[in-house]
């Protein structure tokens, strides 16, 4: 239940077919767009060659042999000049494009179909079929392709386009088969394939209707790159005299013929060379763009912290009670390509020294984003747009990077939901802990080992020596989380932020870890921010609870008050909708109707209004500010507005 990023995909409007979307995606990248333009020109040239070509490409006219191109003193009759037999170079290039493309595209289709089919079967059925196909592929890859092609084509007396297509196409299967196979291996383990089996779909049906639509997308990118490669191979074979036979026109043949007149008329070999280069380059550019569109993860992302400008009144908020951390009117937004999503809006809370604050919310509530803003580790493009994060009197949203870096780990620690991914998988626990000790606490080398042992004992690990020698993958999730806590606590930070620290763990382990966390923070007088989706968890472990919904705080107050006497309808609904051990048999759960709001399209007024049982007219118009409902207890609900309460009283 990570809510670090708003769920963008679920609201993405559908725009046309996948192909149209891919094209639009590519067109938005200028380099790829240039590639598309190139491909269109070449495609057009080869399709309309008979119309565009001024002469028959095979028509010889020895009286006009070796005319120079127009920029080299030639005439407009033969723009690109003529070859030694007096054939028009422009016409031969156009028809050459046609032959090259037809042969390489057909070969690609043959190879990709063959590879797609074999890859799917090998991956899906596995076993002997898989081993056999993949070993054949290995052997083929170990054998130089060009030698094979020369051997086969050299024995054919009369070569035609079909022979070339077969020789160029069939060996390509293995490239496709390998990639498709690995995709199928990943895809067939997914639950939807299992579900198809459960509804009775035969294996062929699962393969065709369920697996195929998820794996074929890898083929077009490889295919495009393959076409580029095949055009080169076809030219190479023609150049060696193993391709199409004269008088057919082919770029490779033209290159070979041009070579003989290199000194007299260099353009004869330069022009087909340029044609080959431009074609292959264009195709590769399109393939790169396509890969980006199909797999958006390849797009570059960066982490950059943005500072807020210093406010004149930044230090003016001392307050009467010394709180360790005071978050005031914090707002965070994530700009997307076409709109800006407000992930956190006007969030305020305070935490005192030694106190445990629980932040409760569902996905998209902004609870994790709030935590990441405090430690200033928001993923780009997220940024704090307003508010203050006052930690010990300094505004973390406005201090320079090096000061922030000095605070992180030393005075503010953080632990995450998935401990295994927070630890380095290839370094032993001992090494990683020693590193943390050296860096954060400057422990002398002699004492590091004993300090590590003590740290592990302090989080309830009975045999620290064994754990220190092990690697994260050898430990259970609970153990790894203990190690993370021990590491985060080495520097005795003033504040520890725990983002869903036990969500990935079992209940019995969760109980152990939380108790440990409570003990160690109490012992060191560390303030703890405990972020979770489970309100019962914070009810047990926190002093103060902040309930968040759709990026806002809807209720905050002392834990016992919030749980026993919830004032916001959302808090109340949340408490009632979770099946508790205490729930009596036969009592129906009170479910909250509707869905969580889309963070990119929040309703006007109170974000909970569409699901609220006590919704009033004002709720859909005005977003309620927090109203005081008791000592340190407030609720952002119009029911608690002063004028409403007067009405209730009268």
């Amino acid at each position: 239940m990570s809510d670090a990023l708003p769920t963008v995909e679920r609201i993405a409007p559908r725009e046309g077919s996948a192909g149209a979307r891919a094209l639009r995606g590519i067109a938005r990248r200028p380099v790829a767009a240039a590639g598309i333009l190139g491909v269109i020109v070449i495609l057009g040239a080869s399709i309309f060659a008979p119309l565009l070509a001024p002469y028959d490409p095979a028509m010889q006219d020895l009286s006009r042999s070796l005319l120079p191109p127009i920029w080299d003193g030639g005439s407009a009759d033969h723009i690109l000049g003529t070859d030694p037999l007096g054939r028009d170079v422009a016409s031969r290039l156009l028809f050459g494009a046609r032959n090259s493309l037809v042969i390489s595209v057909s070969a690609m289709l043959l190879g990709s179909l063959l590879g797609l089919t074999t890859g799917m079967f090998a991956g899906f059925y596995g076993g002997r079929l898989d081993s056999l196909l993949m070993r054949v592929g290995d052997i083929q890859l170990a054998f130089p392709f060009i030698l094979l092609a020369i051997a086969i084509l050299g024995t054919l007396a009369d070569r035609n386009a079909i022979d070339l297509i077969l020789v160029l196409g069939i060996p390509g299967w293995i490239v496709y088969a390998r990639v498709v196979r690995s995709r199928v291996l990943a895809e067939k383990e997914k639950e939807y394939v299992m579900a198809a089996k459960a509804v009775g779909a035969t294996s062929l049906r699962r393969l065709r209707r369920y697996v195929l639509p998820s794996v074929w997308q890898v083929v077009p990118v490889i295919a495009l790159l393959d076409v580029g490669f095949l055009i080169m191979m076809e030219s190479t074979l023609s150049f060696l005299g193993l391709g199409l036979q004269p008088p057919a026109s082919s770029w490779g043949l033209m290159l070979a013929e041009g070579r003989k007149n290199m000194m007299i008329s260099p353009w004869l070999s330069v022009l087909p060379g340029l044609a080959i280069m431009a074609t292959v380059l264009s195709i590769n550019l399109v393939a790169d763009g396509l890969a980006d569109v199909i797999d958006p993860r390849l797009r570059k992302g960066s982490f950059r912290r943005r500072l807020l400008r210093t406010q004149a009144s930044a230090e003016g908020a001392g307050g009467d009670r010394p709180s360790l951390l005071a978050v005031r009117d914090l707002s965070v937004e994530f700009p997307l390509s076409d709109r800006v999503v407000q992930v956190v809006r006007d969030v305020s809370f305070e935490i005192r020294r030694g106190e445990t604050l629980g932040i409760v919310g569902e996905s998209g509530s902004g609870k994790s984003v709030t935590a990441l803003s405090i430690i200033q580790l928001l993923d780009s493009p997220g940024r704090v747009t307003a508010g203050q994060i006052l930690f010990d009197g300094r505004d973390l949203a406005r201090i320079p990077d090096h000061e922030m870096a000095a605070l992180r780990g030393r005075r503010i620690g953080m632990i995450f939901q998935n401990p295994a991914s927070s630890l380095n998988p290839v370094l032993s626990i001992g090494y990683q802990m020693a590193e943390a000790m050296r860096r954060l606490k400057r422990v002398p080398v002699k004492r590091i080992e004993s300090e590590c042992r003590d740290a592990l004992r302090s989080v309830g690990i009975g045999d620290p020596d064994r754990v220190l020698g092990q690697y994260p993958f050898q430990l259970s999730g609970g153990m790894n989380q203990r190690v993370m806590i021990a590491m985060a606590m080495t520097a005795q930070p003033d504040l520890l932020i725990a983002d869903e620290p036990t969500t990935a763990l079992d209940v019995t382990t969760q109980a152990q870890i939380l108790e440990q966390l409570h003990e160690i923070t109490t012992e060191q007088d560390t303030s703890l921010i405990l972020i979770t989706h489970d309100i019962a968890l914070v009810a047990e472990h926190a002093d103060t609870i902040v309930v968040m919904y759709a990026g806002q705080v809807c209720e905050s107050g002392p834990a016992s008050r919030v749980v026993s006497d919830p004032r916001h309808p959302y808090t109340r609904a949340l408490l009632e909708s979770v099946p508790r051990a205490e729930l009596e048999a036969g009592v129906r759960l009170k479910a909250i109707p509707g869905e969580l709001p889309d963070p990119a399209a929040l309703p006007v007024g109170c974000p909970f209004a569409p699901r609220c049982p006590s919704v009033m007219d004002v709720c859909t118009e005005v977003n309620p500010p927090p109203f005081r409902v008791g000592s340190r207890h407030s609720a952002a609900c119009h029911l608690w507005a002063p004028e409403m309460r007067k009405e209730v009283v009268s």
Binding site: R10, M194, T202, T508, H533, R580, A581, L589
Partner: protein
């Protein structure tokens, strides 16, 4: 009592896994290690346990999505062999945990729901569309959801589609494998209530699997507690709640966070769940058990009926806090009714 809808006897599912090193020893992981269960028509059997206890493997093996190593599965009175799985597929279905990976990403909702209808030729071709729309309505979705792709729906809506797919073949048994665990709490309750309504409407039996004891209690008539491939306790929900016999059940119940004041001290389990590839000898719970005795290290306790309807696999199921369980059980009930209105 009438014949159970589903009966599992001594079911085993073992996996072979090689240890990390090259040429490492092959070890056998007994994911399901001799499970015997039965589910009656219209009943919900809850199955609760922590990660790695084998509950999901059990779910898949029961439906022949994985082939059992040994054991007997009887469905509607007939013993099933693996090649008869198609028969089972029309009577028993499954709802998975993850609403994101359990729907084919590039298939429209309409086609996802139509596929089971077409496979089993349940309705004439021209009525498939109507049936799909009525299935969507049954699970509380608007019929125009049929043209959507899974990623256009929210987690809760997707899980409704997963339920509709399971209902398409009009099964008598639905296995719900952590069906609400990945949903947000405010949506989870909707799905639980939907499952209850559908059960009442279609007389469905559920094998309801979850790690969340609160959710299992809400849904189930009887609860089975699983630990390391075995059932360690099985009892009607209210009796299990009032007086758990197995120390693991007690620890599990005590670990669940609660918004009410805790009455007794929390039972704190020591140590880690054992490695299923290398289970401890004797009772597999003994290294963590607060009341382990020498015998627990040597003898594996049988799952046996200690009291009418109460089975547990513990050598000391009846010897807990000194009072006899029968008394305490009634005490528990009195206390419960005393709390009532």
């Amino acid at each position: 009592m009438t014949e159970p809808l589903l009966e599992i006897r001594d079911l085993h599912k073992h996996f072979e896994s090689r240890s990390g090193r090259l040429f490492g020893r092959v070890k056998t992981v007994r994911a399901v290690d001799g499970v015997t269960l039965s589910i009656h028509v219209g009943e919900t059997l809850g199955l609760v346990g922590e990660s790695g206890c084998g509950k999901s493997t059990l779910a898949r093996t029961v439906l022949f999505l994985e082939s059992p190593t040994s054991g007997e599965i009887r469905f509607q009175g007939r013993q099933l062999k693996e090649d008869e799985a198609t028969r089972l597929r029309r009577g028993a279905q499954i709802v998975f945990q993850d609403p994101y990976s359990s729907l084919p990403p590039r298939m429209k909702i309409r086609n996802i729901l139509a596929d089971p209808l077409l496979i089993h030729r349940l309705v004439p071709d021209d009525q498939v569309g109507d049936r799909v729309r009525s299935l969507l309505q049954d699970v509380g979705l608007s019929p125009d959801a049929e043209t959507s792709l899974p990623h256009e729906l929210s987690g809760g809506q997707r899980q409704r589609v997963g339920i509709a797919r399971a209902l398409a073949v009009q099964p008598t048994l639905v296995v719900a494998d952590e069906a609400v665990s990945s949903l947000d709490v405010s949506v989870q309750a909707q799905i639980l209530n939907l499952l209850k309504d559908l059960q009442a409407e279609h007389r469905l039996a559920y094998l309801f699997i979850s790690h969340d004891l609160g959710v299992v209690k809400y849904m189930s008539h009887r609860i089975a507690v699983m630990y390391l491939g075995r059932i360690v306790e099985l009892a009607p929900t209210d009796e299990l709640d009032a007086w758990p016999l197995h120390p693991y059940t007690r620890a599990l119940m005590s670990a669940v966070p609660s918004i009410q004041e805790r009455t007794g001290p929390r039972i704190r389990l020591e140590g880690e769940p054992p490695d299923p590839g290398n289970p401890p000898p004797g009772c597999s719970f003994h290294p963590r058990c607060p009341m382990a005795q020498p015998i627990c290290r040597e003898e594996t306790p049988e799952l046996k009926e200690w009291l009418p309807g109460r089975v547990a696999a513990c050598h000391f199921a009846l010897e807990t806090t000194g009072s006899t369980p029968v008394e305490v059980q009634t005490d528990g009930r009195q206390a419960e009714s005393g709390n009532g209105p």
